[in-house]
């Protein structure tokens, strides 16, 4: 799994951090998403999928190649 984020779309909701705190954080100054791990381990995939789906700005995209 490979994650990409669109910083310009991010509205700073933090829903991604609530869903997958191991993978996402937010910048202190403006709340924009920070990707901690662009290719997270298998065990985190479910949480990451949830984070991408619940992001209210559709700022997180996943590609699922091995």
């Amino acid at each position: 799994m490979k994650i990409t984020v669109d910083e310009e779309k991010c509205c700073g909701a933090g829903s991604c951090v609530l869903a997958a705190p191991e993978v996402f954080d937010q910048r202190d100054e403006d709340g924009v998403v920070v990707l901690l791990d662009a290719e997270p381990a298998e065990g985190l995939h479910a949480a990451v999928r949830e984070a991408a789906d619940v992001c209210p700005a559709a700022a997180i995209a996943l590609s699922e190649q091995a």
Binding site: C11, G12, S15, D30, D53, V54, C55, A57, A58
Partner: protein, 395 residues
């Protein structure tokens, strides 16, 4: 309930698409149909009053998902066709084009539409803002406008006023509250917002009740107030709230009362669910029927509904959240901010317009506000609002 053989989602926007996605994410492999009346693939509405209206984004940028991601969802996406009736017992939806769609579970995700003023239909120069087409039409109009009056001082009205001002239009923001978004933000933050609009040259008219429109030769000339005064305008945006799209359910037997009334599982009848702006459900934590019109709820409620369709039997009791961007302010609200709450600024300070505050009532936290401090607000939410607390949120 066992795994349904088929799921039909009515409404192909944020909440409808999110329900389909959540079903797949949770392992549902059965037939999935999403029926939507708009011709467009699912797009997000928050950018419509911001980046799209401002002309910063091409409309495609607001699409919720790429074509690839929609493909991978493996759902039948039926666009440009409206649901016209629902047979609850048979779980069959009839569409305008004459389709009969039957499924084990039916999800109502038809959202809301703008409330309009008497005499508004067909009048040139009057706009609402809900759909992508609305946003593009309004943008064209604003580019040639002299003076815009925004009727309505809620979230949408305030955002439109800010964006239009950024386009160089003269803007009047008129509404009944003592400051824009007072109902959502409480006195402190709505006062700050009024200040911000004023500094940017928006003519904020608080405490003004709009009665109707003034017109000549089929074209709007202004907004009529209950006092008899007229605010002169060549463009008017009516932003006076929204009504749930439940007309098509009128004869279904479902309880309709400012939305589709649901139990704590977001279920309106056996195998029938509602999600997003159209759903009014029993919120355990907040104690009563709640209908939320915000983007975060669309996806969170979708996840809850998907789980319940697959047999989870879980109550949905979220901490409400919304954000708004106006001028240089990015505001985040978690929970609720009642007018009589005690406000405690715990990070930053109001003077520098970067702060986060906790709102308490009866000694308990009920809400968090972040003003240009999204991360801090989210952290405060995690610290103080794990359980949503009762406060008047329903209209």
């Amino acid at each position: 309930m066992s795994t349904p053989a088929g799921v039909l989602v009515v409404g192909a926007s944020a909440a409808g698409l999110a329900t389909a996605e959540a079903l797949r994410r949770k392992g549902y492999r059965g037939a999935l149909t999403v029926l939507g009346d708009e011709p467009h693939v699912p797009y997000d509405r928050p950018p419509l009053s911001k980046q799209v209206l401002a002309g910063q984004w091409e409309p495609e940028r607001a699409h919720v998902r790429s074509g690839d991601a929609l493909e991978r969802l493996d759902a039948r996406l039926l666009l440009g066709d409206a649901a016209v009736s629902l047979d609850v017992a048979a779980r069959t939806v009839r569409s305008a084009s004459g389709r009969d769609l039957t499924a084990d579970a039916v999800v109502v995700a038809t959202g809301v539409r703008p409330r309009v003023l008497p005499g508004q239909a067909g009048l040139r120069g009057v706009h609402v803002l809900r759909s992508l087409d609305d946003a593009l039409a309004l943008r064209v109009r604003l580019l040639g406008a002299r003076r815009l009056v925004v009727a309505g001082d809620g979230v949408l009205g305030a955002e439109v006023a800010a964006t239009a001002r950024g386009l160089g239009v003269e803007v009047v923001l008129a509404g009944p509250q003592s400051a824009p978004m007072e109902a959502q933000l409480g006195p402190l933050a709505s006062g700050l917002l009024a200040e911000l609009h004023g500094e940017h040259g928006v003519d904020v008219r608080p405490g003004v009740a709009v009665e109707g429109l003034a017109s000549a030769d089929g074209r709007v000339t202004g907004v009529r107030l209950t006092t008899g005064d007229v605010l002169d305008a060549d463009v008017v945006v009516v932003a006076l709230g929204a009504v749930p799209n439940t007309d098509w359910l009128e004869n279904s037997g479902l309880m309709l009362e400012n939305g589709v009334v649901c139990d704590s599982r977001c279920s309106a009848a056996d195998g029938i669910y509602a999600v997003g702006d159209v759903a009014r459900w029993q919120h355990h934590g907040l104690g009563g029927l709640v209908r939320l019109e915000n983007r975060t709820n669309a996806t969170e409620q979708a996840a809850a509904v998907a789980a319940n369709i697959l047999g989870a039997d879980l109550p949905y009791a979220p901490v409400p959240h919304f954000w708004t961007d106006q001028f240089a302010a990015r505001v985040q609200v978690h929970g609720v901010l009642p007018a009589d709450a005690q406000v405690d600024v715990v990070e930053g300070d109001i003077a520098s317009r970067r702060f986060a505050a906790v709102y308490e009532r009866d000694g308990r936290a009920v809400g968090v506000l972040g003003w240009n401090m999204p991360k801090q607000a989210r952290l405060l939410r995690q610290r103080h609002l794990v359980e949503p607390r009762a406060a008047a949120v329903d209209s």
